[in-house]
């Protein structure tokens, strides 16, 4: 299996695990987990070949995708899906540093990008290689802190930093375009000194090319679909938080293509 096939296979495996977590006692943020999943697969593939590069999932409510991708990457040895939501398990609805591979607690939106900027700046200050890949939601960009962190990145000319925006168009109470639209987003990010690219957020190869950190901070606007990969949930606002029966989960998993 070549690397591309391997990554597609990883994504399909991880999607099935996310569906398993939606079938847990507590359900999961399925829509946003499936929209961000290919971004995480690509981000970890990039980070693997660049020592000292940290991936920070700032949209912490997509924890199910993070646990699944960390597992298929071998970072979480045990299968987290059967433990998700179980009493006494570290696999909570938002990730904490008790989970292998997670350094920063996220779940309060907007925090992760600042952590990533701090990490990337520290690598430079410590004279060590590496940087950070921060994954944020599009709705999350409504948080002022995101823009403060972008400002710090610009002011400190932080290289080795990529911000990937999971542009799935949804947020908790509806659509980003209705609630607080992100007008001229590419131009806004460019004005903060970021090299901006726009890619299909489900094309892992293109994502990898776009994500590789450079000397200048990068922003990747990844267009995605909520619930991607499970036809019954694709593009549906109701896929934001899903608890599904085991029987239906089985059907959904069977429909996932690698």
């Amino acid at each position: 299996m070549n690397e591309t096939d391997l990554l597609h296979d990883q994504a399909a495996q991880a999607r099935r695990l996310v569906v398993d977590m939606a079938a847990s006692e507590v359900g999961c943020h399925l829509g946003g987990s499936l929209s961000v999943l290919d971004i995480l697969v690509a981000a970890y593939a990039v980070a693997r070949s660049r020592p000292g590069t940290e991936v920070v999932l700032s949209k912490g409510h997509a924890a199910a995708a993070l646990y699944a991708v960390l597992h298929v990457n071998g970072v979480i040895a045990e299968n987290p899906a059967p433990l998700y939501g179980r009493a006494g398990s570290p696999y909570t609805g938002h990730p904490s540093p008790k989970v292998p591979g997670v350094r920063f607690p996220t779940g309060s939106l907007g925090h992760g990008l600042a952590y990533a900027v701090g990490w990337a700046l520290s690598r430079r200050l410590l004279g060590q290689p590496g940087g950070a890949i921060a994954v944020v939601g599009d709705g999350e960009l409504q948080e002022g802190l995101v823009w403060e962190a972008l400002q710090v990145a610009q002011a400190k000319r932080i290289g080795g930093l990529t911000v990937v925006v999971d542009c799935n168009g949804g947020q908790n109470d509806g659509y980003v375009a209705d609630i607080s639209p992100l007008t001229d987003l590419p131009a806004r990010l460019a004005a903060f000194g970021f090299e901006v690219s726009e890619v299909d957020g489900h094309d892992i190869e293109k994502l990898m090319m776009a994500i590789v950190p450079g000397d200048q901070p990068k922003a990747v606007l990844a267009t995605t679909v909520k619930g991607k990969g499970v036809p019954a949930t694709e593009g549906k606002a109701a896929s934001h938080y899903v608890k599904v029966s085991p029987a239906r989960a089985k059907q959904w998993k069977a429909a996932i293509q690698s």
Binding site: K98, Q171, S180
Partner: protein
């Protein structure tokens, strides 16, 4: 409980067009009816809690009566400085509604636990704090917050307690061996402990503290003076919450009662789970507490 609170607010808002309900994008399923029925009195500012409180401050200054709704960590903790410099400093009628008091959002992890909100809120002069126990309490207190001038913080749970609360302000002080004071959803645990204590033949009384305002110290003093031992039960850190409020009163007024605090001492990180699992992990076992209380009575029976 959150639905009861929002339904009550909707009723107030129908009669008073100055009432505005703001959310930072966490109203799905809870605020939908309000937004549909009263669209001119509803604003979703997006995922922007600090802006929500800033906007509410501007609205209040302009003569409106804004209510800010989100999960408690996001509506109260995150924009705290905005609450302090806006509604508190200028005595403006802004009401912050925080859902998920304590570890209510158990499975969501510590980013969603409001376990220091009372400590922060109690520090603010003129900020009235409401801590309903039941759905009925929530209705009454939302109405009360609306009638009172100045800023308020209402800490809500997702579900109200099924057992009616005994409000410390409404109940007459009575002599008792062990007085158990509960905050919010701590009431159920308070009753479980009190029952164990009662089993040892010791007289107990369980009351809830529903309001923290300028009268609360007097409320506490009147009841504490009638007890030999007091236990405070709260799903909150042990510093700054109900236990601290009782300790302040005991020390500053020289009341001869021993205080035991049932509160959260450690960081709530790591292995967690259902609400009950989290409570059990973060608090002392009920039997231990009951035995401790009995052993502290001046003369063990």
């Amino acid at each position: 409980m959150r639905n009861a609170a929002i339904n009550e607010l909707a009723e107030l808002a129908r009669a008073d067009s100055r009432i505005m309900l703001l959310t930072a994008d966490l109203g799905f399923g809870v605020l939908d009816n309000f937004a549909r029925e009263l669209p001119k009195q509803f604003v979703n500012v997006g995922v922007a809690e600090q802006a929500m409180v800033g906007v509410a401050t501007g609205m209040a200054e302009a003569g409106l009566l804004p209510y800010c709704y989100s999960i408690a960590t996001f509506s109260f903790l995150r924009p705290f400085e905005f609450i302090r410099n806006g509604p508190v400093a200028h005595r403006l009628p802004v009401t912050i509604m925080g859902v998920g008091a304590g570890t209510d959002y158990s499975f969501d992890g510590m980013t969603h636990y409001a376990i220091e909100d009372l400590a922060m809120a109690r520090s603010q002069p003129g900020l009235t704090i409401y801590a309903p126990v039941t759905d009925d309490d929530a209705r009454v207190l939302v109405r009360e917050a609306g009638e009172r001038p100045g800023p308020a913080y209402i800490r809500l749970n997702r579900q109200g307690s099924p057992r009616p609360s005994q409000d410390i302000r409404a109940e007459q002080p009575q002599q008792t061996d062990v007085l158990v004071l509960a905050l919010g959803n701590g009431q159920e645990r308070a009753h479980a402990i009190a029952e164990r204590v009662h089993d040892s033949g010791v007289q107990t009384r369980v009351l809830s503290v529903l309001r923290f305002d300028e009268q609360t110290a007097d409320d506490l003093a009147a009841h504490l003076a009638q007890a030999k031992v007091c236990l405070t039960v709260e799903d909150h850190y042990q510093v700054g919450g109900l236990g601290s409020a009782a300790a302040d009163v005991i020390a500053t007024r020289g009341i001869g009662v021993r205080l035991v605090k049932d509160a959260i001492a450690a960081l709530p990180v790591g292995r967690i789970g259902s609400p009950q699992f989290v409570i059990n992990k973060l608090h002392r076992p009920v039997d231990d507490l009951a035995a401790d209380l009995v052993s502290r009575l001046p003369s063990v029976r």
